[in-house]
Amino acid sequence: MSRRNFLLQLAAGGVVLLTGAGCGVRRGAGNIPGTIVGANSKTGHLLRNGGPYPEPHHTVEVNVLIVGGGISGLSAKRWLQQEGVKDVLLLEMDDHFGGNATYGQNPVSKYPWGAHYIPVPDLRNREILDFLHQIGTITGFDTAGLPIYNEYHLCHDPEERLFIDGIWQDGIVPENGVPAADKEQFRRFSAEVAAFKAAVGSDGRDAFAIPVDTSSADAVYRDLDRISFRQYLTQKGYTSRYLLWYLEYGCKDDFGTNLDGTSAWAGIHYFACRKGRGVNANSSSVLTWPEGNGFLMEHLKSQCVANEIKLRQLVYRIEPVDGGGMNAYVADMVTGKGFIVHAQKLLLATPQMVNKHLLKGYGERTAACAAFAYAPWLIANITVNGFEKQHGMPLCWDNVFYGKPSVGYVNANHQDLGRVSKNVLTFYKSYTDHDPATERNRLYAKTRSELLDEILDELDFVHPGITAQIEHADLWLWGHGMVAPKVGFMWGADRTAAAQPIDNRVFFGHSDLSGISIFEEAFYRGIHAAQQIVTAS
């Protein structure tokens, strides 16, 4: 901390002490209007408790049944349609599509309830580029084949800021008051990441790629999965608390895990997989929308035949049929009636924690499913009527607080072009102190008021007095928010085993099979499973 900074803080602190602004005027969190919204846990619990389910009354014959209407399920549906596969039905148990790409809307803005951006994709991710071109996010390609991105979809400037030492600094790599020795470690780490980015394994494949499974099998890289990210950083002599904070922030943000709970391979992948380019974009450019990846989801959905994708249909049991195909038992949560879908091919675009229940008849497979762990998340969408004066960088898209438990908030209206008087802030927090199951139970046990207090403790720290400006706050608890890329999980046996088709009838395509929960993986998992089905037919 420079002397000037210190004095400034001392002065600011003095005023805060003098006025009691740091603790004085907070309104009771419980008085802020809003509710806990969220994934339909009632339907989920029905599945976990094994019923009671309605008696099936009739049987529907289809060629392919897709279970799960998140990105992977919708992507598979779209792909099968494009391949001309007829008679494909998709059933989603929730009352909305999109899974982690869910979004909401209020009079101020649309806002994400989960994933909210994608980095500009690698040029080799042709299928994603084609999709982005179809939906207008890519407006064309130059003569060299480089995509031209829609400027309204590229994240606008200013992109990121960090609250550190009482001031908002530009960018989220800590700079303000960071000693030279720490900055040197940042330089060393980014040089290492650059090397990993360019690295190619002995099999000629990129060391770190998207989709994950196209990464090199070279043991030099894959062995990084055997140690935690923290162990790796310790081995390499990284000690800077600023660097370690930053890397843990990255793990929380992308995986919902901490440094000890993250495979070093996954931790490096987060930084080393971003290789996208464009005429007007580079590898650090990201695409974002007020509704987050809900924008991509809506477009995927709109490419699917509308009456072949259905909501509130819980598939609770599957079993092979002697004459061929699979029977799926469905509870229609709308009518309360039950029926059976007889499908030649069944695609489970559902997370393995759901498959664990569906695959009860396949003993050894449930063991693989049980190896999947999921990080719990809390997301809040908070409508704010203006900000007090802020020191330093003005409001950005991504706003992170140094040294705080959450990963900060995103300004949902950031891509608005017009004048904004109110904002919706999407606040994200993953719970990483204990194992996911413990954290999940604790999270579920909290009241809305307690959760809001947790959030306001942080928000009020970076924006003193903001509580008074909050008009509305909705919360969403994701008990199983993201698959956790634990040590040994990325290249362990369970992940591969869980993705293997069964008996050429049951196929698997959820993003958790990739070990990391991102749009690109979900998109490709769907395509991959669809291709397996086409090949098998």
Binding site: A11, T19, E151, H156, D157, P158, N280, L417, G418, A468
Partner: protein, 515 residues
């Protein structure tokens, strides 16, 4: 000499109660001066001429302190009770002074009355305090110690206040919260005295109710301080404010002196009636002389109607659409007799359609095709205005401009904001426009820049200007397109939504002039 004997008994021991009262002198002195500084600052904001305001306010304050001191001789009875009452009153009047003055800010006439009433009342009350305290303490101290103690604390408090106010309080708390904080300190002194002096114990309940009520009011005002203070505190006006209004979008202030009327938006000068003709002739006529019969003209920004006034000087002009975000602004320039005279009733013309909308939203929705587009936005001093200077925005302008059309963009000062100016030029060129930059001298602003642009080199400096222009003619315009070395073109990046270099250029260009 019994007094002498008593003095021996008094010694130099300070009794705790005596120390307490001396400390309260200190707090009272600090508070008193703070209230005056607040009054002076607010008066300078609104009425201009800070030397006059501070002089008269401090003079008035001192005079009324004298009045208070004089009145003190009529005060008798329970002096501690009087002291507590005075403290509470000072706290209330002083604490509420800034919120109250802000609240009536728009009524210029009554503002002055309330301002001096507050200064007078605080002066009387503070003037009462010191004599009262001296009388209370006279039995505790030798007279010379008493006088020395009281005035030491008084003056030290004054020093503290005068340093705290500009360095810490105004920047970090703002005027309203500062005022409330010191009101609170006055109340705190009253409360402490109430509990440390048995002389007033029978009044504790009554006073507690009053103090409690006052605290509640303070707390509410503290929370809503920002709402009360709806205008930028940095706004300072040299001249008399003749009109001020806060709309949901901005604070509009008109000032007047013997020569001119000035319009400020959020404290930034928009025009001076003395030389605005230079700015608006330079903005409009280079484009319009080439298109005297333009069927469709679009003006973005410029809710004062002065640009439209110039456009309407071409009788052949068809429809003019003016897009300005703030209905408060366009309405004012349609209704106020003085302003309507200034813009020559332009916004009341049947040819003119006023649209109150965000310019970006309008342009994205609109399908064109305009012959002339005038872009007259505020300077790109922040990211949200910066969006209106990006390739994305100019692409939309390109789309809604007819193929033979002309667009002009006000482009800040090429002298002070040299990189900013050329960045705007390069950004327009980047989306395919052929640009013709030019500049004009406007005394209130300095050297000012504009970028004229076409799709296909269709513009020529050959048209005829309407009669009666005071600044622009063909020869003059030719010179305006020449840039001397200190404003000559410099290389810059292009301003994009995802990389707003212009805001950064603007900040570093203008930084030395604004800080």
């Amino acid at each position: 000499m019994p007094k002498k004997d008593l003095a021996a008994d008094k010694s130099n021991h300070l009794k705790p109660s005596g120390v307490l009262l001396l400390l309260s002198v200190f707090v009272v002195a600090t508070c008193g001066l703070i209230y005056e500084l607040i009054a002076g600052t607010l008066a300078s904001y609104l009425l201009g001429d800070s030397i006059l305001q501070f002089s008269t306010i401090i003079g008035t304050y001192l005079f009324f302190m004298g009045v208070g001191s004089w009145l003190s001789k009529y005060v008798d009875g329970n002096l501690i009770k009087w002291f507590v009452s005075v403290e509470i009153l000072v706290g209330l009047v002083g604490g509420c002074s800034a919120p109250l003055l802000f609240a009536i800010f728009e009524q210029v006439a009554s503002f002055r009355i309330v301002l001096y009433a507050i200064v007078g009342i605080t002066g009387v009350l503070v003037g009462l305090e010191i004599p009262l305290l001296m009388r209370v303490l006279k039995n505790n101290y030798v007279f010379k110690d008493l006088v020395s103690g009281i005035f030491t604390f008084d003056y030290v408090g004054g020093l503290l206040a005068s340093f705290l106010f500009p360095l810490l309080l105004v920047p970090y708390l703002g005027l309203i919260r500062t005022s409330l904080l010191f009101g609170f300190l006055n109340l705190a002194v009253a409360w402490v005295v109430l509990y440390r002096f048995h002389e007033v114990r029978t009044y504790r309940r009554a006073y507690n109710t009053i103090i409690g009520g006052a605290l509640l009011v303070f707390a509410a005002l503290f929370v809503y301080a920002e709402k009360i203070m709806t205008f930028s505190e940095t706004a300072t006006y040299q001249d008399k404010v003749i009109y001020s209004k806060s709309t949901p979008y901005q604070r509009i202030v008109l000032t007047k002196n013997s020569r001119e009327v000035r319009l400020y938006l959020n404290g930034n000068l928009q025009f001076s009636s003395n030389d605005e003709y230079r700015y608006h002739e330079a903005l409009i006529h280079p484009a319009m002389q080439n298109m005297p019969n333009a069927d469709r003209v679009l003006v973005l920004g410029g809710g004062d109607g002065l640009a439209v006034r110039e456009i309407l000087k071409y009788p052949g002009v068809g429809a003019v659409t003016l897009v300005d975000l703030d209905p408060g602004m366009t309405k004012m320039f349609q209704e106020d007799p003085m302003l309507v005279k200034l813009n020559n009733r332009s916004l009341l013309s049947t040819k003119v359609k006023v649209v109150n909308d965000d310019a970006y939203a309008f342009v994205r929705r609109d399908s064109g095709k305009y012959r002339v587009i005038i872009v007259d936005f505020p300077d790109p001093s922040n990211y949200s205005v910066g969006k209106l200077y990006t390739t994305a925005f100019y692409n939309e302008i390109y789309r809604i401009l007819s193929d033979s059309g002309v667009v002009v963009v006000q482009s800040t000062s090429p002298y002070i904001g040299r990189r900013s100016f050329w960045c705007i030029d390069h950004t327009m060129a980047n989306v395919g426009f052929h640009t013709i930059p030019y500049h004009a001298y406007v005394p209130s602003f300095g050297e000012w820049g504009f970028v004229l642009a076409t799709k296909n080199y269709c513009w020529k400096n050959e048209g005829s200007f309407p009669a009666g222009l005071r600044f622009l003619n063909t020869d003059n315009l030719r010179e305006m397109m020449f840039f001397p070395p200190d404003m000559a073109e410099v290389p810059t990046d292009v301003n994009k939504l995802n990389n707003q270099v212009l805001v950064r250029y603007f900040e570093s260009d203008w930084g030395p002039y604004t800080h």
